[in-house]
Amino acid sequence: MAVSIAKQGYELGHGHDEEAHEEVIYQETRDMRLLGFVFFLCSDVVLFSSLIFAYIYMRTTVAPVWPPMMDGHQLPRLDTAFAAVNSVVLFGSGVTMHYALEGWKHANKRQFNWFMLFTIILGSGFLGGQAYEYAHAQIGGWSGSIFGASFFTLTGMHGFHVFVGVIYLIVLWWQTARTNLYNTHRYFGLTAGTLYWHFVDVIWVGLFFLFYLW
């Protein structure tokens, strides 16, 4: 099936219809690339799951009280109000990314550009909030306590994903402005970028609950 479609596309291309040829090849490879990208997201779920289960195990089994004791004193809880604001910033960026993609699909370049800009600003704002929280969290640093170790490892891993996501979105934005890689029919890179951004949002839902609400 795959070979016949590719062959058909090749023949079309040879028949002076390069665009149709490229379209067939794109449609053929899009599903495979999408499946591969979903598998990549699944592998990231496994990565975060292993760290999350380690945290849950430590919290429920190893530490007698939570937050744990350090130097004879119980560590304070994290600032939920600030984290709630930061969470809304990240979730908001997920919505703006969705509307950016919708703008692209409907050939509304203005909507796409504005919402991409909002997404990048909100994503960067979330990273700034994380940096602020790291500087002010009184939980003993990375190696000072079991709380600090799990918090900085998990949120650090997530923050790294957000950072990569921001770079990814900037590259996508640049590609849409400077290249002809995407049009209203072919925009797999933008779809993948949107899925990735939603994914980092959803990981934060779990981390927000585990570290601030539990």
């Binding site: 919505v95 899925l195 839902v205 927000f208």
Partner: protein
């Protein structure tokens, strides 16, 4: 600090409502679509709306932490 925490809670509360509404509107728009990317998007948008609900519960003091 208490005043600041109160302002943060109000901002988070309003923001969570706004984001949840737009997430649900987006989810409704995606609902009829059936592609793999559309299905994943539906799942992720739904979970994002759940995240907004968690923020709402935290800022209103329903959850154990009470948005402290």
């Amino acid at each position: 600090m208490e005043g600041l925490a109160g302002a943060e809670k109000v901002i988070a509360l309003i923001g969570a409502v706004v984001v949840a509404v737009f997430a649900l509107i987006s989810l409704k728009g995606e609902w009829p679509k059936t592609g793999l990317d559309d299905q994943v998007t539906k799942l992720l948008l739904g979970l994002m709306a759940l995240g907004c609900v968690l923020v709402l519960l935290a800022t209103t003091g329903v959850l154990p932490r009470g948005g402290a």
